[in-house]
Subunit: 162 residues, 2 copies
DNA sequence: CCTTTGATAAGAATAATTCTTATTTAAGAA
DNA sequence: TTCTTAAATAAGAATTATTCTTATCAAAGG
């Protein structure tokens, strides 16, 4: 599946705008990495993006791809799928339930929700494959990480005052 | 958050039953690894499980924990969170949308769904942290992997016939 | 209480991701 | 346009999660 020309252009100009606003250089590598992701409706991993971009920018390094992807995530122009930045997580609760996932530390909390349980998977989605389970995933920053980062901010403010 | 004694016992007896049915040995290590996961409503990674079980089974190895967890996943007594078994995946579509995730190859397809978009996150969940996005995650086996595995089965049948 | 086959421990190997450092380049100033 | 400089990149080393290899060990049935 590919994104339309118009949609791609919109995403690219939005992208340039965001980088400038944040005072971040618009490099050839960054543009091509973003273009590669923005023109695809799939969800490639870093290696796949690296291989694709390398065809156009032969000297690019895998490290740049990783660094750039995480930069984009921090800027909010990308998301990651599933729990973040670390290792596989396991869940012994095979009954229907739903998840709040912290995008910073990966902590995941169950919740129950009849409205979500009642969701009937559309035929369009059934055509993608056999359905095992369906669950609502709420992504955000958990209370613990919020506290931790507000502490950090306060600490760095104090530092700047001196 | 901890699971009640009754619920834990139910899960453990269900668990023993499943292993026996599948002709798989009920070892001390497997019981303790399962108990550790089943008594927790969190979603620990392998390392965390390893550290916890080690207090009770000091000679256990990290490798056994991994091997056992994947065995459990194959048996269906556990799930994993997010895309499976491999690397981080990225998504340049920050507009509201939802995912079909293949638990075998990790391929992830977008879909759109007004019913899911309309879901209002309950206060109980808001109390867990700040909410960035919410999305329905449908997990299953994609058409490609279904075809691949049916091919495999046919091939192994042919082999057995000889 | 044997036997056998599958399970485990230990450490080596692999593979994804990140770090270090020397070089290059974007972007604003002249 | 050219110069300046902080920021970005490439290359390869380092790190870390996960898996593999192989020599012991133990569950389950007889």
């Amino acid at each position: 599946m590919t994104v339309s020309k118009g949609e791609l252009d919109r995403r690219l100009s939005e992208f340039r705008h965001r980088l400038s606003q944040a005072g971040i250089k618009v490099t050839h590598q960054r543009l091509e990495i973003f273009r590669e992701l923005a023109q695809s409706a799939e969800h490639p991993d870093a290696e796949t993006i690296f291989e694709a971009v390398r065809r156009r920018v032969p000297t690019i390094s895998l490290d740049t791809v990783y660094r750039t992807l995480w930069l984009f995530v921090d800027l909010g122009v990308l998301h990651t799928l599933g729990p973040p930045r670390d290792r596989m997580r396991f869940d012994a609760n095979v009954a229907p339930h739903h998840h709040f996932v912290c995008v910073q530390c990966g902590a995941t909390h169950d919740f129950f929700c009849e409205e979500c349980d009642a969701f009937r998977v559309p035929d369009e989605v059934r055509a993608m494959g056999s359905v095992h389970i369906k669950q609502m995933e709420v992504r955000g920053v958990c209370v613990k990480c919020q506290k931790a980062s507000s502490k950090k901010i306060r600490a760095s403010r104090k530092k700047e005052e001196t």
